[in-house]
């Protein structure tokens, strides 16, 4: 029963009590007062003493405030975006030209350490084919990918994990067995990665040299497991250089992925 109904009931009771008290002078006074007290009790129930009603009261206004903050922030973004600026601000122009000027310079600077020339991107281009197995692979416990790379040929793997093996096989057979090393670069420095190919598959990946300003432990924890992103394990697990985004170590994760891609492109030759 909501509080307005209760209040109405209390008022009716109070009026009834009063009429009883007035109509029956002999015994009615007592009964009337009792009914009025009952009404008062009911009325009290509608006041904040009732916890449910009390919280309704409390949550109401704050929800309005929260909506206004969320609305206000979205409205601000829309207003600024709508005002636009692209072709009007000279600073933006300067920024544009600077960015494009530097872009070509950076590409030239970055490619040599990777040793891999244009072929660097080949594995990435091949990765659309690898996408389905990656999706299927993820939900599985991390233990299974650790088993997979243990030097087994794709045929053996098929035996262990029929679904994954069947799908993964088309994406991998290009790699030649051996150990491949390559560099990846980011604004924080360079990362050298070694990738070991066994039986045509990525058996293990490790950061062999970490020359970034920040520790590579960010993207490759010294103690694996614990549910934390471990990019070298992800490469083995997914059989591809596609690794997760690590907040706070985004650049390093990209450099790592690039290095893996470069190493894999060597394995393709």
């Amino acid at each position: 029963m909501d509080k307005s109904t209760l209040l109405l009931l209390a008022i009716i009771l109070a009026v009834f009590g009063a009429s009883v008290a007035a109509g029956h002078p002999a015994w009615g006074t007592f009964t009337g007062i009792a009914i009025i007290l009952l009404a008062a009790g009911l009325a009290a129930g509608t006041l904040p003493l009732d916890s449910g009603a009390y919280f309704d009261e409390r949550i109401g206004p704050s929800q309005r405030i929260s909506n206004s903050l969320i609305t206000m922030s979205s409205a601000a973004i829309v207003a600024i975006y709508a005002a636009g600026y692209h072709r009007t601000s000279p600073a933006a122009h300067r920024f544009d030209s600077q960015a494009s000027g530097k872009a070509s310079a950076t590409i030239a600077a970055v490619v040599p350490p990777a040793t891999a020339n244009p072929a660097t991107n080949t594995p990435a281009a091949a990765s659309p084919a690898a996408t389905p197995p990656v999706k299927k692979n993820n939900p599985r416990p991390t233990a299974s990918p650790r088993k997979t790379p243990a030097g087994n040929s794709p045929a053996t793997t098929t035996g262990i994990n029929p679904s994954a093996g069947a799908e993964a096989t088309p994406a991998v057979p290009h790699y030649k067995d051996g150990m491949y090393v390559a560099w990846g670069s980011c604004p924080h420095g360079d990362i050298e990665v070694s990738v070991s190919i066994e039986g045509g598959k990525i058996a293990s990946t490790a950061i062999s040299q970490c020359l970034t300003r920040y520790s590579c432990g960010w993207i490759a924890p010294k103690v694996p497991g614990g549910g934390l992103p471990d990019l070298p394990s992800q490469v083995v697990e997914r059989q591809s250089p596609k690794v997760d985004y690590v907040s706070g170590a985004t650049e390093s994760s990209y450099a790592f992925a690039d290095a893996v891609a470069a190493a894999l492109s060597k394995a393709l030759q």
Partner: protein, 320 residues
Amino acid sequence: MHLPMPSPQPYPKHSNKGVRRSQALMGTVVTVHLVGGEGTPEGATHHEKAVEHAFDWFGRVEECCTRFEAESEVMRLASQPGVPVRVSTILYEAVQFALAVAEESAGAFDPTVGYAMETRGFNRDHRSGRKIETALDPGASVSYRDVRLDPDNKTITLLRPLILDLGAVAKGLAVDLAARELQPFGNFAIDAGGDLYLGGCNPDGEPWSIGIRHPRRENELIDSLRVSDRAVCTSGDYERRNSTDDSHHILDPRRGSSAEDVASVTVVASNAMLADALATAAFVLGPDEGIRLFDRLSVEGLIVTPELKRYETRGMSEYH
């Protein structure tokens, strides 16, 4: 004068599918990753252009809101206390939002701590390394109530001499504007050092996976989240420590010292401006009040104390 970027590292990439680029902006490295577009050459160019436009927003917001450059709009405003100053839409909206958060958090978040921050050694432009020193009356204690907005004329009046610190709002705002620029493409990630916006899915078609740094152990993550179409902002006492004493970059405006009860705060919200501002407010409010604030404003959050005790909103489990 607008300083030339000392170390912009435009870094166009097509590996891992899509366009990915990083630049040093707003005192951090900003990375934009736009998924897709490799099908045709036109698609690739289109994507490159969009990423470029997304980056433009950072430069524009910084020009308006940085207190590290004497010529920025917010510093020009600081030099004219007592008079209504007509400002750009960006500055007006940023200040209006900052004041609303200040009101909502009862002053735990306060954009008028700029001068206090400057005098406490947070006075160096992260890009140029140049120091900024502003002559203000150091005795004056100011609060967000000393800022007046006129919505009709889009003017801001500083009732007392003060410097607005929009650090907790501007970076988030730039991320949101960049996100808006990339919205038509659906799948993208923007990372501006602790402020992230994750649109749609990663190249594998799954929600983006985001690691949250452990506030005390250098090489570990304390949690990892899976999010889509959400902003994630983490604020920690390990970032930007002051050189003179060991204070960090989040000031309790009510006490005038660094907030000490919290080691890191992560907020998941619909936009980065809100997430960043609320993370900063919760930092000052402490774990209990912080979580109450998140619940009240219907955002999700995780607060870690220096003793590594975790406090989180109930909805946070959705992102695990």
